[in-house]
Symmetry: C2
Subunit: 584 residues, 2 copies
């Protein structure tokens, strides 16, 4: 297997020319203080290096070895502990954390790129840090000052890890029914008792402590509250003291992500601390969930990039057959000459590059929402609401497709574990499921984010992006008209769903996935225009030509999927809902 | 995991009402002698029973245990040997074999259903018998009488197994470059030397002998010839004698199909016997390849059916959330109330049932081609040529989609090995690759079968099926018009490709997959009309209602994919071929 190579030129292009990071950062004082473009590029360079040299080399061995569970201990594969230590000491876990508590204060626009590289290098390894950063974000947003001072520095430094305890056997997508209990104690703490399943990083040997954020119910309450429950309790001076009734029951044996521990966690009168208001735990947890949702989208994006690299390198090396229209000589051609192989590679590449734009744009809106003011902040919050479920679902769906298509380029060799690309398929498959299935994301998008405000946020988003296109002087107007027409059709579909959803209560649920997919394919059309337009005065003529070719491929071959998905939304829900359950 | 249940009512419906098996069989004397509909239904019943009680129970344990390779021996997982013995003794390997040599002489129309059940029960187990039946078919078609008498009875009886030795490290899709050599001997036999990779069932412990069909080159020839090379040589009376220079070098560690051995096979001056004419080996091997191609399509179909059963049963049991438009009570609803879950289940189900129609229709044409006469036979041969690559690619692509969608219905539980559905994804993934990747199938279809005769066979096929629709009195004419319009558009696209392929030599390669997919989705529209029409006078009103609902779902939600794929064909190859290799 070849080493991973970070797509630094594409990343720099997006930062500088497509999303204009320097101007964005200059407008946000907290960021301007922490970073400029040169620092950002140096950080990317370093992230590329550690992804290549540190993380990627343990990815396949980690899959073969897997995590093991023995006598209440979970042991990560060879190399994980050392690599995690180095990764944490490099400050990567706290990259976007608050400098007041030891974070590096970097913008999310940059963070998404670092995350992508790490996920490209190893889905399984990167989850440990991602959960930790997400837990820190939640504690930062909702914890008391004392909690923040006690826990955040250890999380940002990577000495301690984070985990998220939501799911129970009877409570997956539907958290109303959780049974974990929290009993108030005289000292203001709570005793937490119950079992949680599917806890990523619930137990492992990478860090000295694991900080669990756990959903539980207070006595006599139907509401759900959020508690911080450390694996190891702290003494009065904040040092590690002793165990806290937090134990791992078992680990799951999974299709992939074998180097990531997925645990059944038992809380037995474990001491916990309330985060946020009582009965408002879901709101607090959603701070972490939304962070993880974007991260999981980026897992899909990182997978897509890795699949592209592996498949394109293989296609340039593997000799088989000769180019159409040429005579077979003694030597076969590399399979990249074949139209069908090119079709697969170009599909992965155009979707991945547009996906990176979606990831960065979402990161940029997160930065405006966090560090901006007034209407800029308010608009960004709206957009983050819209974009988070799309980034999670659309990027992770495309991640699986990219991995499968990349595997197809390898032919029979792609099915062999040694090649490594089948691991991508197995590892990334879960991204469509966890942190809320992609169906749940789509229902959140169409039901809450799009029709929840009578399509106002989506209309604002569409209007802004239509206006942006008018300023793009270097791309074909027929492509612009195609995107404008699709945006209009999308709005019309949204308004129709909004109008009919009361009389057709299942309409949103039945059509949400197609609606989200339609939006994704349209938005990628917009991003391809933006990228080709921004590449027009790129000093590297090959770079410019590449973006124009890829844009053409996207518009010739892929954007029509938006029409298909919109037609499915417009077809309504009767064919889905009318058939009685007994006929399934 | 629930036991497998064969969809016998649907199978009987297709046989009796949709494809009119009794009349077909009555028209073919060789078949009429061997089977009538009652016997056929009894055979299906028995096949369902062994698939459920014998094969399915070793599927998951076989995946966990896998095959092992020790000192030149390959050991199959616990239970495989005993189950294979019982399966073989039941006559299932020789089900469609020639009675003159001990086969049961059953029609392929029936064989495809038996194969589907077995693949539903276990992809990995069923391959061993499938390779054996395919080898027997090839020997029957191209072997000398002596060869047939010597080998066929042992293959049909399942005492001996078959394997297909084509691929070498440098020769995958492109067999021109194989290096295995065949040296003629004075006694008329040949000494075969070389290495073959990716040999399914190349070595195992299920049978006393394994009959390899091996492609090799005669001295001073660029042509490829086919040889029968037994693992164990026979003495003059046809009994097992001693080893024959056929050894297993290693086994592959794969994404799935872990209970199926995939071997590197070394032939070291192994004695072999020419099958067919010298230098005509590929033609002979294609008899086996085409058999296996349909079988691999059926592997995808069996997977689809298994995925549907698992997912629909889970969706009826798993309680989570409440139906849209209802108030949450103390009890959650089964997730089958949710629109998005129904969308996934209905997609799998409609595609699977139409897929079964494609499988049976192809089987029927194979029967006409084998047992029919005159124009009936000639037309069937044309149709088999058209349908084989479609069945292989379209059914296996849908198999993976069904497995992934079924897994999605399971949510997080679908990612856990215990549930069993992730195994379907891993096992069926190879079906898109082996026996010629689905890209190769599509190029065969569009380049050879469709445009190779200037679209004559496809036009005949389309005209016949358009005429058939006129006779369907019980289905909506708007649906019929949709299919007719799509058939016409398909022909127009085919003619356009045919016209442009000389000036655009890469056009076929670049557009073939979309063309095949378009054909598949249109044909499934036709099959849904045929099925709903045939169900109109079905005595079971629920059965009739179900087929009508499913037809509506197909036309509301899925057939538009044909439009998408046709638009991609019509978009041509420039966006794919114009981009220089250096920009990948």
């Amino acid at each position: 297997m070849n080493p991973y190579n970070a797509p630094l030129a594409d990343m720099q292009f997006l930062l500088e020319r497509v999303f204009n990071a320097p101007d964005t950062w200059a407008s946000l004082p907290a960021i301007a203080e922490a970073v400029d473009i040169d620092t950002a590029l140096a950080i990317l360079d370093e992230a590329g290096k550690i992804s290549r040299e540190l993380i990627h080399p343990i990815n396949r061995s980690g899959d073969e070895e897997g995590v093991t569970h023995e006598k209440g201990k979970v042991i990560t594969p060879t190399g994980f502990k050392a690599v995690y230590k180095e990764y944490a000491e490099g400050g990567w876990v706290g990259l976007c954390g608050d400098p007041e508590f030891g974070g590096m204060g970097m913008p999310k626009m940059l963070g998404v790129l670092v995350d992508e590289m790490a996920y490209s290098a190893s889905n399984a390894f990167t989850l440990y840090g991602s959960l930790t950063a997400g837990a820190a974000l939640c504690i930062h947003a909702h914890g008391s000052e004392e909690i923040k001072n006690t826990y955040l520095p250890h999380l940002y430094s990577g000495e301690w890890a984070g985990a998220m305890g939501m799911t129970e056997p009877q409570s997956g997508s539907d958290l109303r029914t959780i049974r974990t209990k929290a009993e108030p104690q005289n000292d203001g703490s709570y005793q937490i008792s119950g079992s949680k399943i599917f806890i990523t990083g619930g137990e492992h040997d990478l860090t000295d402590n694991i900080i669990h954020l756990v959903l539980a119910k207070l006595p006599d309450s139907k509401g759900i509250s959020l508690f911080l429950v450390p694996k190891v309790a702290l003494d009065n001076s904040g040092h590690l003291a002793e165990g806290n009734g937090v134990t791992v029951g078992s680990i799951e044996h999974k299709m992939g992500l074998k180097a990531s521990s997925t645990c059944v966690m038992n809380f037995d009168n474990a001491t916990g601390y309330l985060i946020g208001e009582p009965d408002r735990g879901l709101v607090c947890m959603f701070t972490m969930m939304n962070y993880e949702r974007l991260a999981i989208g980026i897992q899909g994006l990182g997978t897509s990039q890795a699949a592209y690299q592996m498949a394109s390198e293989y296609a340039k090396e593997r000799l088989q057959g000769v180019a159409a229209g040429t005579k077979p000589g003694p030597q076969s051609d590399p399979i990249i000459v074949h139209g069908d192989v090119r079709r697969m590679l170009l599909t992965i590449k155009t979707m991945t590059e547009a996906g990176r734009a979606l990831s960065m744009y979402t990161g940029q809106q997160l930065d405006f929402a966090k560090y901006g003011e007034g209407d800029i902040q308010a608009k960004a919050q709206q957009y983050v609401g819209l974009l988070t479920p799309v980034a999670k679902a659309f990027l992770s769906d495309r991640g699986l497709e990219a991995a499968i298509m990349g595997q197809q380029v390898f032919g029979g060799h792609g099915y062999i574990r040694e090649t490594g690309i089948e691991q991508l398929v197995r590892d990334t498959r879960i991204a469509q499921i966890y942190e809320g299935t992609n169906g749940i994301q789509a229902i959140d998008f169409l039901g809450r984010k799009v029709t929840g405000d009578n399509v106002a946020a989506l209309k604002r988003f569409v209007d802004e992006h239509k206006a942006n296109m008018e300023l793009m002087a270097h791309v074909s107007s027929s492509y612009k008209h195609k995107v404008i027409a699709l945006f209009d059709a999308l709005l019309a579909s949204a308004l129709q769903v909004n109008e009919n959803k009361l009389t057709h209560p299942a309409l949103v649920n039945a059509c949400a996935v197609d609606f989200l997919d339609a939006f994704g394919f349209i938005l990628y059309g917009y991003f391809w225009l933006a990228m080709a337009n921004a590449a027009d005065d790129h000093p590297d003529q090959q770079f410019k030509a590449q973006k124009q070719h890829l844009m053409q491929f996207y518009f010739d071959k892929l954007i029509a999927k938006a029409d298909y998905h919109l037609s499915q939304v417009n077809a309504g829900d009767s064919a889905i809902m009318d058939i009685p359950e007994v006929l399934f």
